[in-house]
Subunit: 440 residues, 2 copies
Amino acid sequence: MKRRTFIKNSSLTALSVTAFGIVDSRSEGFTLNQKLRVNEDRIENRIFELAKYGRDENGRGYRVAYSKGDIEGRAWFMQLMENAGLEVSIDSGGNILGKRKGKNPSLKTIAFGSHIDMVPDGGDYDGTLGSLVALEVIEVLNENKIVTDHPLEIIIFSNEEGGTFGSKALVGKLTTDNLKLMSQSGLTIAEGIKAISGDTHNLTSCIRNKEEFLAFVELHIEQGGILDKENIRVGVVEGIVGIDEWDVTVEGFANHAGTTPMNLRKDAMLSAAKLIIACNEVISSHKGKQVGTVGKISAQPGAYNVVPGKAVFGLEIRDLSQDKIRTLFQEIEKRAAAIAAEDGTTITFNQILNMSPALSNKAIQDKIVQSAKELGLTYKNMQSGAGHDSQQMATIAPMGMIFVPSVGGISHSPKEFTKAADIANGANVLLQTIMALDRE
Amino acid sequence: MKRRTFIKNSSLTALSVTAFGIVDSRSEGFTLNQKLRVNEDRIENRIFELAKYGRDENGRGYRVAYSKGDIEGRAWFMQLMENAGLEVSIDSGGNILGKRKGKNPSLKTIAFGSHIDMVPDGGDYDGTLGSLVALEVIEVLNENKIVTDHPLEIIIFSNEEGGTFGSKALVGKLTTDNLKLMSQSGLTIAEGIKAISGDTHNLTSCIRNKEEFLAFVELHIEQGGILDKENIRVGVVEGIVGIDEWDVTVEGFANHAGTTPMNLRKDAMLSAAKLIIACNEVISSHKGKQVGTVGKISAQPGAYNVVPGKAVFGLEIRDLSQDKIRTLFQEIEKRAAAIAAEDGTTITFNQILNMSPALSNKAIQDKIVQSAKELGLTYKNMQSGAGHDSQQMATIAPMGMIFVPSVGGISHSPKEFTKAADIANGANVLLQTIMALDRE
């Protein structure tokens, strides 16, 4: 197995330890349990252990959902869960559930977890980290002989990377169309769910009740590079952005590039270029964290010597507020109308995706902030620009997410890396957040 | 055979006839031969006759070079040339030559002609018209029992549409690389030349001498729509533009479209859009007839949800002056450097085509102008934005081109159409220009 060099950031660890000594029992209404600390080495060793499962013929990471590596990795993970005394099962959607009884069975469940499937040639931290850190919380409770008041549950969702299909199943949003889709593994989603011991004949049985959970909390690497760049240890996720996508079609008139004078042209590419800049101006001119992207384009007929009669490009806007996305889009529509009028072209927008934002629960955010503060860790409120299982879970449970830095913001790449000290810091925040939720 | 409605523009014809009556023997040093007039109906009927040769399985025009239709059309044309008393041959490059002796064999040859191959689903006038009008000149001389002082020669070039390969062969510019190229017919250029009775083993034998021609004159439809739009009967071509083409590569940094803040992006597509507009501004801001086009583009990796790390587009600039093309390109390079610096991207230009302009001979232009004036026809000096066999011929002979209007400027389309009156006007200009050249 190819393993990257392990970088132990001793100064950061020292800082955390010092902080632990200072902050105990300092704040009002929130007491840091000084004894409870995660085992940094155990988590990191398990990252490297799990990375052994799933390799393609060239030795690259290939634990894509439903593949041999995914199935073997899940078996390894379930064994660890059983070793930790959890009651382990696979629901009909293929999600791995690990339950731990609380003192009071009438209380709602505190759930946490992530996923262990990966994109082809992906990294060892996306999803994996949140899954192993969830297990670490259980290990620490076991070692300290702590039984929480609330029942606890680890959820390892199936096929997150393909489109959060496991969490969709769990919240009742998996469609029959989804089941027919071809997954990266070469199996359809339906075939894949069966391959990992799910049961597509009883997909309603895995749907969880809205009253069942006190919270769902997910720890994940931050894929935008903001924490790493700003040297901040913990991201407190305010929500997962909504995503709207459009195909934008500009129509002009195709003509001979040699014989058509500049002033007689209706050049679709030129209008498209103006609109691409206008999109960027509209998105960038508003305050906030919204992003907008033109990621694909074609000019038609697409020859050096033909004035393009048509240009089609993809426009995507993401923000935590659906209203803001709508406002931005309306501004872009106005700019498009002006460009079309000026150039004698026509511009049409065809929406192809409308994914609603998922807001984090404010009380859970507060507990994450408080945990970070008590642990002496720098933190930052931020949004998640990427989709996660938490987005689905937010539809049935109060949701919270904890981000830890990913070096260079690199993700979906073999270069994905999070320092062990940052893993431990984030894991301790998750642990303390769960404990704080239990004290409610 | 599908034939379009024949529109006889009687007012235009009447105007021309009136003009003929007025202008005879009016000007100094240039005497219009009032008896010599082309036969409008004969030319147009032959257009429709030739259009019968070459159809694809769906009945669309398909007289592409080296195809069955091309071979049959050429045979039909050669028969007409023989009927007109020409000494007909096919040179080793597959060009059809039709020679008519002059009174003085020591004088240089006056050559004229065009091509009869077409693009797939093309029209019946591009090339065909110039070829049949050239033959009409001979018919009129025969009918009027005129023998010119200079030898005359009709040249029907092979495979103009594929890349002026016949005229390249005739001027000695056909390369061995050219011979290996696959043509539209499914044959390589070498195989195609053999299929039309050329001789690829003796390609030097078709190369003509620089001292051989007094002039080469080609009549062609004007493919830019300028004559039609401005209601002008004759275009006096000042030259065929040079064409420079580049692949322009913009490199930024590919990133997640959801997690990468707007101010941390190096969006290659955005820089490309700015540069496309800059190209248009540079080209349009200079006086003159230069044109510049971005006709193809791609963004990479090319997904809605990835900030493009790379964008590649095609840039083409055409003008009669190579210096002007160079100046425009240097301005574009400066704009590119400024955009790259502003956006943190890199922009590189890779030239893939550098075709020199071909200037028309000034004395021939004057004779075309004088002929149009004497015939009472409106005319306009203009450049050819499209390539023609005349571009190659200009390298070995004084060259001139006569344009006639194409309705709507439409070309390379079944809708290509030139009114019979405009055909006759242009043909009479060609006839009188040949006669004027002979009087030198």
